[in-house]
């Protein structure tokens, strides 16, 4: 439904967005994943119509949206800071878009009630914005964006200001709600766990470009670049010499950087593997994150059970977990 | 948004409608200063006689009135101007803002105050700027001063308040009185007065209402008008039999206020009629109580309080308006050097 074609947005002599291309299908949730400053928020704002691209086009189905002002695009955007209207109470905030649509009073009231219960805020209608907690404000913002039934909902780092426990719960709620409503959405985040949780497809962004786009498992197992791999949380990058070798062994056929995914890195009892020294071990809910040094190379992985620092272990690397990066 | 635009449109329509009301032909406009007023019913009599209404416009003090009149002389808003006095007269005449009109009623006015021989302006009223004194501040031990000479006597040191002749009408009048008395020696007199600790204010209001005893101040001598004592009686808070102030009749300068037909008026006849009317007994007899001035007409009778308490000044100081206009800027500059610096 949404198609972004070759969008370029200039800023200060360079481009924040440089030939961005991607699509969002009907009812699909696409996550824009990338580190801060990669242009993902700008892309969102460009889709929303808040920024004007220098070149490129934005389509909704067969309709071109590039020149359409934001209020006529029918897209919703939920800001990172929620941007709730301080002069209106909760109900009035949610009602805002309905009021603009010139719905009747009864219809509006019904819809507000419906949304309040959708985000589990029944009875909050007359609360003042200043009295809301972070999570509540977040839900109000979501309800407000959903109220006019946008064709596309965009969420800009919605969890950024929330604590972890709240984040996990809200993420589940949002994910469930969006799927229930079959809501097409673009979700911006720098957190790959969040992305994996909610995304139908993930678009990895770097330096104003979409590096890679695919389902969570596709992009996770086959990142196309180092940046893409990093934003997915991968850590084991190894530089190969001209013959494709490194201290661990032959990992490729020519020079370049390869990624060893954590899932292909295991500690084996036999003496056959590669010897390495544990340089750090952090216990985290059932697993231990370990860092192992082999020569000058440091590799991270997680194992079941515990492990001590400076222990010598044997590593096994499965070939399928070695990904050559561009 | 539409409502907002409608509101704005309505506001502007209302404003334009109220302000652009047609000016009627049967109206004569009198431009004057802020101290002008005449009782209700007086101008109605004029309307009854001539069928013409009088619209009064005020333009601030005398200086402002004159400046306005000169500025608008190419497209005058008024038909008659009243309130230019003899200290400003020559400037008005030089600017050629008045048309010649010799009123038949001038026969009732003494020749002495008909300063313009060409009759471009007609005297309407006069008053005397004199030193007033607070009676209770003086006694047989310290009698009030008699004349200008006495004021530089150290007995009266620190007692007198005068206004700056550069910013006040009575201030200028009093200054002119000293020039009329001392000629070129006025500078010596003022230097002596300065040494005698004279207080100078910017205007009449702060002299009389702040510095003078009557206004709560501490100075028992102030430059004011010969008509001030009767005003103290008329406008007393609790009725009094006689004024608390007196006038030094040998220190007075005569101010004469003139009216004139505006050069270029479209209502020449009505304007001339208004001048005649302003010399009629109806108008003239209302002047004392409404403006605290003396009527120019010999036939007008004074109201009782005025007749009783207003000092009639026998031989006030006067100066030719032409001489005043020619020298005033130099004089006042010299005065500033001597008294204020």
């Amino acid at each position: 439904m949404l198609r972004v074609e070759n969008v370029k947005v200039p800023f200060d002599g360079t481009y924040v967005l440089n030939e961005c291309d991607f699509e969002v299908g009907e009812g699909e949730i696409v996550v824009l994943l990338g580190s801060s400053g990669c242009g993902k928020s700008t892309l969102l704002r460009t889709v929303a119509g808040l920024e004007n691209p220098e070149s490129g086009k934005i389509w909704w189905g067969t309709q071109e949206m590039t020149e359409v002002p934001p209020h006529k695009r029918g897209f919703g955007l939920m800001f990172q800071n929620h941007a709730l209207f301080p002069h209106r109470n909760v109900g009035e905030n949610i009602d805002f878009g309905l009021q603009i649509l010139r719905m009747t009073g009864i219809e509006r009231q019904e819809r507000v009630d419906e949304l309040l219960s959708m985000v589990d805020l029944d009875g909050f209608q007359n609360r003042k914005i200043g009295s809301l907690s972070g999570g509540e404000a977040q839900r109000v913002a979501l309800a407000r964006s959903l109220a006019p039934k946008p064709r596309l909902l965009m969420l800009d780092e919605p969890m950024a200001s929330l604590d972890r426990a709240l984040r996990d719960r809200l993420l589940a709620d949002i994910s469930e709600l969006l799927r229930e409503l079959k809501q097409a959405a673009i979700y911006v985040t720098h957190d790959h766990d969040e992305a994996f949780f909610i995304a139908d497809r993930i678009a990895v962004m770097h330096n104003g470009k979409i590096e890679q786009i695919g389902t969570p498992s596709e992009v996770w197992s086959n990142p196309s670049s180092e940046e893409s791999a990093r934003s997915m949380g991968h850590e084991n990058f190894i530089e190969l010499d001209d013959s494709g070798r490194c201290e661990i062994g032959q990992l490729g056929s020519s020079s370049g950087i390869v990624l060893i995914r954590e899932d292909g890195l295991s500690i084996v009892p036999e003496e056959t593997g590669i010897k390495g020294e544990v340089i750090s071990a952090v216990f985290r809910s059932g697993i231990t994150l370990v860092k192992i040094r082999v020569g000058k190379i440091e590799l991270s992985t997680s194992i079941q059970g515990s492990m001590k620092v400076s222990e010598i272990v044997n590593l096994k690397i499965s070939d399928s977990a070695v990904v050559a990066l561009s | 948004m539409k409502k907002f635009l409608l509101l704005i449109t309505v506001i502007f329509v209302v404003i334009t409608a109220t302000t652009c009301a047609e000016k009627k032909d049967d109206t004569v406009t009198l431009l004057t200063h802020d101290s002008f007023w005449i009782s209700e019913g007086v101008f109605e009599e004029f309307t009854q006689q001539t069928g013409v209404n009088v619209e009064v416009q005020m333009a601030g003090d005398t200086g402002q009135l004159l400046a306005s009149a000169i500025l608008t002389s190419s497209n005058p808003s008024a038909d008659v101007i009243f309130g230019i006095d003899n200290t400003f007269l020559q400037r008005a005449l030089n600017a050629d803002i008045f048309a010649v009109y010799e009123s038949p009623s001038l026969s009732k006015v003494s020749e002495e105050i008909q300063l313009d021989t060409q009759h471009r302006v007609t005297p309407i009223d006069f008053g005397d700027v004199c030193i007033n004194y607070w009676i209770d501040s003086f006694s047989s031990d310290l009698p009030p001063p008699k004349n200008l000479d006495d004021l530089i006597d150290s007995k009266y040191s620190g007692q007198l308040v005068v206004q700056n002749p550069e910013t006040s009408s009575p201030g200028l009048a009093f200054f002119l009185a000293t020039i009329a008395e001392y000629g070129d020696d006025w500078e010596l007199w003022w230097a002596a007065l300065r040494d005698n600790d004279v207080t100078v204010t910017s205007g009449w209001e702060d002299a009389y209402e702040v510095e003078f005893v009557a206004g709560g101040g501490e100075h028992p001598l102030v430059v004011s008008y010969a008509s001030s004592p009767p005003a103290e009686v008329i406008y007393a808070e609790t009725p009094i039999d006689s004024p608390p102030t007196g006038v030094l009749t040998d220190t007075c300068f005569r101010q004469i206020e003139f009216a004139g037909v505006v050069n270029g008026t479209k209502n020449q006849e009505a304007a001339e009629n208004l001048i005649d009317f302003m010399l009629s007994n109806t108008f003239q007899q209302d002047i004392p109580n409404s403006m605290l001035m003396f009527p120019a007409s010999n036939e007008a009778e004074l109201p009782a309080t005025f007749a009783e308490f207003a000092e009639v000044v026998e031989d006030p100081y006067m100066l030719d308006p032409e001489i005043i206009e020619r020298n005033r800027n130099n004089w006042t500059e010299r005065w500033t050097q001597i008294v204020l610096r």
Partner: protein, 539 residues
């Protein structure tokens, strides 16, 4: 944007532009072109390079600068109190600080003089009367409200948690104020300071009455040249110079205001209760500065003979034979003018503020600057300018009463803008963007977001415009008028212009009534505005 909407926006933009254009810039240009005679250039030059003029110019700037600094310093504690604390009678306190604003200069000068006498400051070693100090004191008295109000309302919107954080980090209070609070206050401080400076620069009555005859500022010099010497050309030259000084000041302040503008989301915290020390300190300070002169006025108004009575008030309905109007009728005129002026100022100032904040940079600077200048022009010159420019139909307004509220609105607009602009600037852009993404067109964004949020500031601005109008004397006295349309301050001046206890008493009663009306109106306007905020903003 379709052509129809484009037209509406253009129309709205041109409304304030047209207003100041027709009623300010055109008259000004006309009087300048009428009087500035190139042949006299040498004469002008020698006047401008003369010692007396240099003294006047120096004194003008010097006293305005010092007055502004003093006012700012004395008003800050009160602004802090109003911004951060709740205490019983807060609204009354705020309204009371506004009172001096409406006092006609003559009356205030009288009150100060009486004050000096009572405390033995009228002569001797500690003489204040006819000194620069009296001038400064009066300027502080008159301008305190501007700072307390504009800075106070801006301050209230700053997040206090920032200061709290600094406190936790161990910073000393003075350090917190200097390093944390002050920098964030700069936009409001600059806005207030520019208005106060311009007011003091062009102050007229105070200089004449309290400064005494030896002290002249450019403004009084303009008046002396134009009215007393009849030399409007020199007056115009001076007016141009004064306008230039004002322009420089306004430019500097606009720059500061913009550079320092920070977007801070407003937090709604329950204001703390004021500590007794702070409250007492502030009330004492303002009590001395503002309260004492006012108390003296009230005493004069009710003092009759040796006792007290309300006879001066009950006599207000009767016309005194020297004055065309009864005091009551004059009050009615003043009220009407003030309402018209406040509505005009709020409407046009509000629209202009919006374009200053949301228009493109060129437009914004143009408006921000252009609408401010009326505060800085000599009333004498503008009055004469109006006289010779508004003299042909359909704008033959020379004899129309509407000229008075129009002139007052010109003075009120900058106040409305100074209060509304900082508030509009502080609206988080994401609020407006959110609204727009929820389907609101630009005009609806203005209606539902900007307007309700800035409504309180607009109310404060309108209240200021009202107060300015009701007490305005300078500009009014230079406009033509008909006797039945005299304003209360003009009648008051006339009452003080003739001898007699009764006239003086009546003048004081009129002054007290003016103060009461203003305070009541300010409370009323703001009261309804504050209530409004909690009700639905949907209208």
């Amino acid at each position: 944007m379709n052509p129809q909407k484009r037209f509406v926006w253009a129309f709205l933009f041109f409304l304030p532009v047209l207003f100041v254009g027709v009623f300010f810039y055109w008259p000004l240009l006309k009087i300048f072109s009428h009087t500035l005679d190139g042949e006299r250039i040498n004469e002008f030059w020698s006047y401008l390079s003369s010692k007396p003029f240099r003294q006047i110019a120096w004194f003008t700037i010097w006293q305005a600068f010092l007055s502004t600094v003093c006012t700012m310093m004395l008003a800050l504690p009160a602004a802090y109190l109003v911004a951060r604390f709740s205490f019983p009678g807060k609204k009354l306190f705020q309204a009371l600080t506004t009172i001096p604003f409406v006092l006609p200069t003559v009356v205030a000068a009288g009150a100060f003089m009486a004050l000096f006498q009572r405390f033995g400051l009228d002569q001797g070693m500690f003489r204040l009367h006819h000194t620069v100090w009296a001038l400064l004191l009066a300027h502080i008295f008159f301008n305190l409200a501007i700072v307390v109000r504009t800075v106070g309302s801006f301050w209230a919107g700053l997040d206090p948690r920032v200061e709290e954080q600094a406190k936790i980090l161990g910073a000393a209070p003075w350090h917190i104020f200097r390093k944390i609070t002050l920098p964030r206050l700069v936009p409001a401080l600059a806005a207030a300071a520019s208005v106060v400076f311009v007011f003091c620069l062009t102050s007229f009555g105070i200089v004449l009455l309290l400064g005494g005859p030896t002290r002249a500022t450019i403004e009084t010099e303009i008046w002396r040249q134009a009215v007393w010497r009849g030399d409007i050309s020199v007056a115009s030259v001076l007016a141009v110079i004064q306008l230039g000084a004002v322009m420089v000041m306004v430019l500097i302040m606009n720059f500061l205001q913009k550079r320092q503008a920070v977007v801070e989301s407003k937090v709604e915290l329950n204001p703390e209760r004021a500590s007794r020390k702070l409250l007492v300190g502030n009330i004492l300070l303002l009590g001395i500065l503002v309260g004492l002169p006012i108390v003296i006025l009230v005493e004069r108004a009710i003092g009759v003979g040796d006792g007290y009575s309300f006879q001066n008030f009950s006599a207000m309905a009767d016309r005194i034979s020297l004055v065309p109007l009864s005091s009551l009728a004059a009050l009615k005129n003043s009220l009407l003018f003030a309402v018209v002026a406040a509505v005009l100022a709020a409407l046009l100032g509000g629209v202009a503020s919006f374009f200053v904040v949301h228009g493109n940079r060129w437009l914004s600077n143009f408006l921000d600057f252009g609408m401010m200048l009326p505060l800085g022009v000599s009333a004498v010159v503008l009055g004469f300018g109006m006289l010779i420019s508004l003299d042909t139909p359909p704008l033959d307004l020379r004899s129309s009463w509407i000229l008075v509220p129009i002139a007052h609105a010109l003075l009120g607009i900058p106040f409305v803008m100074r209060t509304v602009i900082p508030t509009l600037r502080r609206i988080d852009p994401s609020l407006r963007e959110s609204a727009s993404l929820l389907g609101a067109s630009p005009s609806k964004v203005t209606k539902y977001i900007d307007f309700p949020i800035a409504f309180r500031a607009l109310g404060v601005g309108a209240a200021f415009a009202f107060a300015i109008s009701i007490g305005e004397f300078g500009a009014t006295s230079f406009l033509p008028r008909s006797p039945d349309r005299l304003t209360a301050p003009l009648v008051l001046f006339r009452l003080l212009g003739a001898p007699g206890e009764a006239l003086r008493g009546q003048a004081m009663a009129l002054a007290v009534t003016l103060m009461v009306i203003t305070a009541a109106t300010v409370i009323l306007i703001e009261g309804s505005v504050f209530k409004r905020e909690t009700i639905r903003s949907d209208f």
